[in-house]
Symmetry: C2
Subunit: 213 residues, 2 copies
């Protein structure tokens, strides 16, 4: 049996999807031209148009992040799942690298010692990287909170924080805090988010920087 | 600076989250006791209560899948991102294993030859496994369609198909097809879904089978 669906070549599926998303965006809504590819890619990843309203950008966040990516920024994610979703090959074309420290043994040991989450300790480890840094948080509000603390202590100066943890405990508050931390951000306000959302935001920025999509 | 949030131990965050979800479920809604942990874990992963209505289960799907998991079922995912989200150690405790073939070179070559997606070819590869099989699709409607074809050709007999691709092209239709394919399923009907949703469904089932959460 061969099942026939809408005939479309694999490589055209993404373009078609983005055209459908574009056609369903509210016509009376003015969307910043640099923010739009990010918003559309998150909707593409979630099929959830709530992100049109949920996504919050600090001023010139996209423009500044594209410059950082073009100068070899690294991305640190708070989950291996988000890491798996980021298009590593394209990031590497830009001279960047992709890290997640969640499964590292030293991180587990230090988290136990401090009585905090591994995600928080990962952010301390990220603070030691030399490259311009994009931190993508798709899971742990504690990671976002630790970033705020490290910034205020002068120990961390990321080019961008992607704040997209999902959930019910301290999530909304952690996103409010990062938006007041004096750092450039792209945040999925409210409870929604996830590793997929964090990865989609990274990919949108990477593709804009490489010009490949 | 030390930022104080709601005081909660890392290991208690998940329990608290599930209690909040439970408290926000509509009181007048009767939810099947075996389906409920699956529904709640997907809401936990997405913060999206739409899944209370979106998730569709074939009759006794959960019960039968738990039996399959306890007899060493393998899980094949259609993305490495979904694979990264499945709790592998718990699955291995049950005697199962976790696979994703998307990055395999032979898959890419065969997809090019057939002019189809790599995801579809992955399903052909999965059909060759001997263990009871759970196929978790979080991305590619073409994978779901290929599963329907392989089932109808008598080449594939999965214990469960998790149908949670997300998106705009052929996604809704592919989910309708799998629900008519004569196989046990858990499907996120409509456009929504994702690798995170597919992984969450896997994890809910695994945790029920191990009894660890």
């Amino acid at each position: 049996m061969k099942i026939e669906l809408e005939t479309i070549l694999p490589e055209q599926i993404e373009n078609r999807s983005f055209a459908i998303i574009e056609s369903e965006l509210p016509k009376d809504r003015k969307i910043d031209a640099l923010q739009k590819p990010v918003i559309k890619r998150v909707i593409h990843t979630t099929a959830d148009f709530d992100y049109l309203d949920n996504l919050k950008f600090s001023e010139h966040a996209v423009e500044k992040t594209l410059a950082a990516l073009k100068s070899g920024a690294c991305i640190v994610t708070d989950t291996n799942m988000a890491k798996a979703g980021v298009h590593k090959a394209s990031l590497e074309k830009l001279g960047g690298a992709l890290y997640c420290y969640m499964a590292d043994e030293d991180v587990a040991a230090e988290a136990k010692r401090q009585g905090c989450t591994r995600a928080a300790v990962c952010m301390e480890k990220a603070a030691k990287l030399d490259n311009p840094l994009i931190i993508a948080v798709g899971n742990a509000p504690t990671a976002l909170v630790r970033i705020c603390e490290l910034i205020s202590e002068g120990k961390l100066k990321p080019a961008l924080v992607i704040g997209a943890p999902v959930g019910f405990v301290n999530v909304v508050r952690s996103k409010e805090l990062i938006m007041q931390a004096g750092v450039d951000y792209i945040v999925a306000a409210g409870r929604k988010g996830g590793s997929n959302v964090a990865a989609a935001i990274c990919n949108a920025l990477i593709y804009m920087a490489t010009g490949e999509r």
